[in-house]
Amino acid sequence: MKTRKIAVLLIMLFVVATVLPFVSYNVAAEEEAPKGPWVDEIVFFAEQEPAKVVDMLEKGDMHLYLIDVSDPDLFQKVKASPNLKYKYAFGLFNELTFNPVGPTFKNGELNPFSNPRIREAMNYIIDRNYIVDEIFKGLAKPKWVSFISAFPEYGRLADVIKLLEAKYSYNFEKGKEIIYEEMSKMGATLKEGKWYYNDKPVVIRFLIRIEDQRKQIGDYVAGQLEKLGFTVERMYKSSREASPIWLFGNPAEGQWNVYTGGWISTVISRDDSGDYGFFYTNLGFPVPLWQAYKPDPVFYEIALKLWNGEWKTWEERMELMRKGIAYELKDSVRIWLVDQISPFVSRKEIEVAVDLSSGFNNPIWARTIRFAGKVGGTIKAANREVLVDPWNPVAGSNWVYDSVVQQTLNDPDYISNPYTGLPMPNRFESVSMVVEKSVYTRASSDWLKLEFVDKVEVPTDAWYAWNYTTKKLETAPPGTYAKAKIVVNYGDILGKVKYHDGSVMTLADWFALWPFGQERVNPDSPLYDESALPGYRNWRQNFRGLRIVSEHPLVVEYYTNYTNQEAEFMAVWATGWPNIPWHVTAIGIYAEEHGMGVAFSADKADKIKAEWMNYIGGPSLKILEKALDECLTNGYIPFKEWASKYITTEEAKARYQNLKNWYQAHGHFWVGTGPFYLDTVNFQAHQVVVKAFRDYTFKADRWAWLSEPPIPESLVEVPDNVVPGLDATFNVKLSFKGKPYPNDRIEFVKYLLLDSAGNVLLSGEATPGETGTWVVKLNSTQTAKLSPGTYKIMTIALSKDAAMPSTKETPFTVIPQISYFQALVSETQSQINAKVSTLETTLAQTQSKLSSLEGSLAGLQSTLYGALGLSLVALLVAVYAIFAGKKKTES
């Protein structure tokens, strides 16, 4: 018996011991974020065929695809799949570019689109909803203005834009009427439904791009033009075939009339004030087409002021923007068609942040990716291409296919917020900025302190330039001024941050190679590279000085002439981070300097017939290996006159040894500070394996708050009825994931009141109420303007944390005053009736209660009488008994 008990106890212990680790592991997994990334490794591989991609995702052979899946039919499959999920990004947009030269071309042919009214009328002729629904199958949004509807500028101007969208909505007959009128004025005649000019048909030469949906758009628009009586010559061309004609040909030659244009924005653009100048005036491109643009003088003035930043306050800027936008449609040298929606697809179990504009081309993806609720695992990430051009730390590949991998390995000084485009500090703690008063800028981030002064003078001990002749530092000459001083606190990092090869960051990594950029533009230097000149000139124009304020923490002061209306961008112009340690760049410098057959830039490599330096493969590796050996042997210190104050020969040798060990272990020279390190590269198979760097400074949950775009969800509570002449209140409820949206994170909530035809009757801004609620109050004067009928209130809410505005249309009814009062009277009457009837009922109930009370009373009375009778009898019996007892006693 005792043995059995022990056995049971042991079994229980065994079970507990077996289960406990799993339980504790899961708890830990849920709660503890590791240093570095969530996952253990990512394998990048190439797959180009979208149909195969979707199938592989479905089967689990791929976890995410780093390029959008924009095929509408395939996307339907993705949407229907229980195993897949997707996030949207924006940035591609389509338009029609018109040739504005005329009225006639050099060959005497009439160009209808030289007439601004005809161009403007084309807005009515194109049914943008048709393009969205039939060509893009919902993966696009109709577009009337140049601003992308998911980006901040659109949100800021949404109330004006909505007016224009309503005004220029599809109305073929209206457009036709205007075009017919103008064509007649231009001397064209309509015969049997066809337009003629000088007895020849009016031919529209339509350049239609063939690579994407623009082919279908072109066919649709060509059809609409034919319906108007034009003879359309459809010229199907690829980008390369079309650009010499529309972009570089002389538009007066009449080789084309319309072109199906497409544009891309690869970042969330926060300032589109240059759009008017770029798309509608000769400021845009130095090519004949742009020089032929003749906008309205008022529009040109607005465009020019915005182009040159000639405004003093934000309000002034916004006023210019508001004024300009109507001219976009009036001018219509190009009419906007759609903003494309690009879906980025992954397996359901994958959690990852996706940039609203660039999708996965933002370092944030590598810092947020994980298997839901799990730590560790291998992610299989496919891309259209993997490993395209050589990688090197100076002028290597700039392909997105390469940068998306590098983003896992490299750590930048800042990361662009994937939902607002605003910079967020990644490797610095805070910035304080002193800006000259004449510069307009503003800051909205808590890491940035901003103040204004009359003048910003550069101290005379600030580094100003590297004199490559004397090999000495030049400090700022007295009387040097800058537009801003930017003081960056990087925190206490020196001696603490580790590189992938085990080296620990020192001041040398920051400043030892400071002369390098300037040596590259020294024609006498073996490092001279002509291709570095344009970039250097721009840097020189803006850079005014630099000073190290302290080393622990590392605080550096920068002086710059670069300005931006958002101070965050000025700050990150200055900030930096030595992601690649000095010794890694040094072996490349050594190899180029010693003419070993490699060069950092493609231009120089081509010029000297050398290899474009590649730190991860190819013939460069052997050369770099040799360079490393020589550096190690000699204790090479680049720019010794300067760098030897940061590096000793022993330190240099130790660093080179670290790199040699790294090369022997991994077969490449790519060393950084990012959350992953480059483990293996397979050029044959085009695969790259990156593994978690667990010595990374930060934990995996650092950016967890960015996993989803916090775009507010809107719900509008409308009054039952709005009555002209009476106040009306609408409550706009904003939430995110079911929780009320904090009011202080909302930039604005605007509203538009639209009639049933879509005309805007009223507009304004809502005021904050309780958390998550914004109130639109219409006063009696405003409601008095509304005649009875059905209306819509459109609300546009813009969060400070997501660039994409949340719009919502909610219907409501306006009833006549008389109906209202009738309703009020009948309601009062019915209320009274209801009250009377309630009273009656109450009375009846009371009556019945009274009757029942009466009955009860009667019953009670009878009982009372009975009781009295009984009492009497009892009394009599008692009296009798007393007397009878007495008698007995006496006897």
């Binding site: 010499p244 300032d271 240059g274 474009w612």
Partner: protein, 355 residues
């Protein structure tokens, strides 16, 4: 006399072939550049890209307009220079020609090799092993199966199997990549037992044996698609070819003499038909080194066909010229060697150079 004649014949053939090679290379250069028109395409695209990049970059917003335009022009000029577009096309065409003659394949304009080199030689050489591995294997499998089955069918002329092959021969008009799509659908998508494509598993196995096995696994479907595609027609053609030979008078005579069938096949049918078979084999072998654009795309196979396709799209003349030069030289050398072999073994040619 015979030797002298043969040398004369060999030199004459060599010179002719070399001239043909040079001519075809120059035609390739001109066609690849569309007679210099491509320059305009590239230049316009370049200016557009550079201007757009600078004008939309907030970093350059503060630059005065004339400074910015200067910067754009400078960058454009540099890029034009880098690509050699600052020189007229006819000069560049002669440079390409010189490179081709000296077998210096030069540097690509845009493309890089798998390992990131601009050297055209490496761009081609790095892709060649995978191309040979897949398409030469397919070619050899096809060659051998077609010969032996063709021979078998010619022996069993009119039989059920022969009729079946005749009936199924038209299936070979469907290209290999088309079968490839079906094979992917069945074995990768539906049964999920073979990979969708690529060279090796994701991630690649570290152990060399496992790596090799993984590559072999990835070869199954593309190889099968090429084998299936060419199978029936290939066998049918060989069978017809052998049938023609087997009805020659000397074969009939041998058969009448009672030569055993095996001996008949080898001595009387296979041997005389060997020269055209060897020619076919040699040309097929060289052809297989060019890869196959669509099959490589369907199976995501990193072969030479894809490089050629990329070069065509990017108007990368040096790469196109490089591929053509190698192919042309190989072809010319093969044809010359075959000519020499025929010269030695074919009495008719002997008579020709003997004159």
């Amino acid at each position: 006399m015979a030797i002298k004649g043969f040398v004369k014949f060999a030199v004459k053939r060599g010179i002719t072939l070399y001239l043909v090679v040079l001519l075809s290379i120059y035609i390739t250069i001109v066609v690849a550049n569309m007679g210099g028109m491509i320059d305009n395409f590239i230049k316009s695209q370049l200016l557009f890209d550079i201007t757009y990049q600078f004008k939309r970059d907030p970093e350059y917003k503060d630059l005065p307009a004339n400074e910015l335009d200067k910067l754009i022009k400078e960058t454009y000029k540099l890029e034009i220079k880098r690509r050699g577009l600052d020189k007229p096309f006819y000069i560049r065409s002669l440079v390409y020609m010189k490179d081709a003659i000296t077998l210096d394949l030069g540097r690509a304009l845009y493309l890089t090799s798998d390992t990131g080199s601009r050297s055209v030689r490496l761009i081609i050489l790095e892709r060649l092993p995978q191309t040979v591995m897949l398409f030469t294997t397919a070619m050899i499998i096809n060659f051998l199966t077609h010969i032996f089955i063709g021979l078998y069918l010619s022996r069993h002329y009119g039989g059920k199997l022969d009729k079946l092959f005749i009936a199924l021969a038209p299936t070979s008009v469907v290209p290999g990549w088309f079968y490839g799509i079906f094979l992917i659908l069945i074995f990768a998508s539906w049964l999920h037992i073979l990979p969708y494509g690529g060279l090796v598993d994701v991630p690649p196995p570290k152990d060399p044996t496992l790596y090799t096995l993984s590559v072999l696994k990835h070869m199954i479907l593309p190889l099968a698609s090429w084998v299936i595609s060419g199978f029936f027609l290939g066998c049918y053609s060989n069978r017809t070819f052998f049938l023609i030979f087997s009805t020659e008078d000397y074969v009939e005579a041998a058969r009448a003499k009672g030569v055993p069938p095996r001996q008949l096949e080898i001595r009387y049918i296979l041997r005389p038909s060997l020269p055209p078979i060897i020619t076919g084999f040699a040309l097929g072998l060289i052809g297989s080194w060019g890869g196959a654009i669509i099959t490589e795309t369907v199976f995501n196979w990193p072969g030479l066909g894809k490089v050629t396709y990329q070069a065509i799209n990017a108007f990368d003349t040096p790469v196109l010229v490089g591929v053509t030069v190698i192919y042309a030289y190989l072809l010319a050398a093969t044809v010359w060697i075959l000519d020499m072999i025929y010269g030695i073994i074919d009495p008719r040619i002997k008579v020709m150079y003997g004159r």
